[in-house]
């Protein structure tokens, strides 16, 4: 006689549920990913290389890397400062501050771009002044940077705050009582404690910074070879019916996503405890 735990579904139900879940993930998630690579290599490897190495594509790749290289460190500094203020000190209005830091997550990317157009665009508050002084923000690199920093604003702080709350203040208090200065305590005690959580936040922040479309699309002006980031370049090529090239550049971004997922999975597996404290 076979015994079945009353807390376990029958084998048939279990297999059916697993199959249904896998079928759904296959259709909704895996198929689009496969489609990107299938379309990208439709003209074979030479076609792919040609599309990726073409000057406008190269300029887009360079711009995307440049934007991420500036935006991510800025948000790392901010994220660490915010987490330090929030988790190592007591003050009134902490909950409100956390909500405000999370705010960019709930704003539509298009609105995130629009706000900077309203400030710095030709018809914006500072538009005339900027024009007078020959400073370009909208339809130029600074605008793209601002929009990217806005949409990636909460990532690092969001990972660090729960982690640092869980770790408490005792390590830092010990270091300080032994005579370490504030900076020494931060570099030698806090930073080593949070490094994996920080890396996790940087990873997600970077993926979003390189892949942001809506916000950047509003402020970039779509100037080929100049203000097109990789996602915008994909759009331009796609709208020109140059599908092979569009998917070739898109496949680079898909590879970035895959690398992000692999590193993320590795971090979660290697540093389960630290990541678990971050409330995922």
């Amino acid at each position: 006689m076979r015994f079945r735990s009353p807390l376990q579904e029958g084998a048939l139900v279990r297999s059916a549920l697993i199959l249904a879940a896998l079928a759904y993930l296959l259709l909704i998630l895996l198929l689009p990913l496969v489609a990107v690579f299938a379309e990208a290599f439709r003209a074979g490897l030479p076609g792919w290389i040609e599309a990726v190495a073409e000057p406008d594509a190269r300029a887009a790749i360079k711009l995307t890397l440049l934007v991420a290289a500036i935006a991510v460190p800025l948000n790392v500094v901010f994220g660490i400062a915010a987490s330090w203020a929030i988790t190592k000190h007591d003050f009134r209005g902490k909950e409100l501050l956390i909500t405000l830091i999370d705010l960019p997550f709930s704003v539509s990317p298009v609105v995130s771009g629009l706000i900077y157009v309203l400030l710095f665009g030709a018809h914006g508050w500072f538009g005339a002044w900027l024009q007078e002084h020959d400073i370009e923000i909208i339809f130029a690199l600074p605008g793209i940077l601002l929009a990217t920093v806005f949409v990636t604003f909460p990532f690092v702080a969001r990972e660090l705050i729960p982690l640092m709350t869980a770790q408490g203040r005792t390590d830092e208090e010990a270091a300080l009582s032994l005579g370490a200065s504030g900076w020494q305590t931060f570099w030698n005690v806090t930073l080593p404690n949070i490094r994996w959580g920080l890396l996790y936040g940087v990873l997600l922040c970077n993926a979003r910074a390189m892949g942001e479309f809506g916000a950047v699309s509003v402020v970039s002006g779509h100037i080929r070879g100049e203000t097109n980031t990789m996602p915008l370049h994909v759009e331009v090529l796609y709208n020109e019916y140059n599908f092979v090239a569009a998917f070739a550049v898109a496949s680079l971004l898909a590879m970035l996503a895959l690398i992000t997922l692999i590193l993320k999975t590795f971090l979660e597996w290697r540093h389960r405890d630290a990541i678990a404290a971050m409330g995922h």
Binding site: P6, L7, E9, V13, R14, L17, I18, A21, L22, Y24, L25, L27, I28, L29, L30, L31, P32, L33, A35, V36, E39, A81, A82, A85, K88, H89, L97, T99, L100, I101, D102, L103, S108, P109, V110, V111, L114, I115, V117, L118, F150, F153, T185, L204, M210, G211, G214, S217, V218, P231, V234, A246, L253, L256, A257, L261, K264, T265, W269, G279
Partner: protein, 288 residues
């Protein structure tokens, strides 16, 4: 004497450290946080409201409540709602399977769930369009009378892709942390598996499921990149609200774009408030 002194001093010190934190760097870290928050987020966001107020109520209402804008809200909110509902069902299924069952390649499947967080939206958009267009892998298999790409179902598909991890990643931890005691008790009292699910398990995870739905819905109403390629973008029919903002901007109608942005922002704030309430509900549910 000595004992008196030593027992008197710790409470005194404790009191002092409570009044002012002993940690250094409050001024610097808080100053930097508030400066960056104001410059990047608060001042630019308030610009939308101030600018819109400057146009006057009538101008705001004429743009924000125009027929075309209302149609766009209906498309954005309606498709985001349907996609959120679809994800609530399948997200729960995926979370359940990941937490409760063992199967081959589970870690790979688990990693795949986060793909929508990592894949740029524009890439998802063109990939889904290629799949669901008439000539695509999926589009080819569909009956002729059931168009997906360039119609409303296409928008739902894109938002389903974007929203899935929100539901899975919100429900998963609650399901994993749930003790077996109540389930065991129900089973001893003769509850079937299905009764156990509907009466014991589901009520416990309901707040998390509602939170996941709200997160997916909130993301869906503002989503742009993954939608515009597959949407068709016909005014009054398949035009989403974020696209209407861009269209207005391209026609240099700043007031029109700003008015719609104000409506979208108010919707975002409302969702944020709702999510905070849901979190309170969840905390109470876990505590009880």
């Amino acid at each position: 004497m000595a004992t008196l002194a030593s027992s008197a001093s710790p409470p005194h010190r404790k009191k002092k450290s409570k009044a002012r934190s002993s940690m250094p760097g409050f001024g610097l870290s808080m100053g930097l946080t508030l400066l960056w928050l104001s410059v990047i987020v608060l001042i630019p966001l308030s610009a939308v409201f101030i600018r819109s107020a400057g146009e006057g109520w009538d101008a705001f209402w004429a743009s924000a409540a125009s027929e075309r804008a209302i149609a766009a809200y209906r498309v954005s909110f309606g498709t985001a709602f349907i996609a959120g509902a679809v994800n609530s069902v399948f997200g729960l299924l995926v979370a359940w399977v990941l937490v409760r069952y063992e199967f081959p390649f589970k870690r790979l499947v688990n990693a795949l769930v986060d793909l929508p967080f990592a894949l740029p939206t524009a890439v998802a958009g063109i990939a889904l369009t290629a799949l669901y267009a008439d000539t695509g892998w999926v589009g080819k298999l569909l009956p002729a009378g059931l168009p997906i790409a360039y119609h409303l179902p296409g928008i739902v598909i894109a938002l389903t892709f974007i929203g899935l991890p929100f539901v899975v990643r919100t429900v998963e931890p609650v399901l994993a942390q749930m003790g077996k005691e109540s389930e065991e008790a129900a089973a001893t009292l003769g509850a079937t598996r299905l009764q156990n699910f509907t009466r014991v398990i589901f009520p416990t995870i309901a707040p998390a499921l509602a939170t996941g739905f709200s997160l997916a819905f909130a993301r869906g109403i503002g989503e742009y990149g993954s939608v515009i390629f597959i949407a068709g973008n016909m005014p009054f029919h398949t035009e989403i609200a974020p696209l209407l903002i861009i269209t207005q901007l391209e026609q240099y109608n700043y007031a029109g774009a700003t008015a719609i942005a104000v409506v979208m922002l108010i919707a975002s704030f409302f969702m944020l408030l709702l999510l905070n309430l849901l979190q309170g509900w969840q905390r109470r549910r876990v505590a009880s």
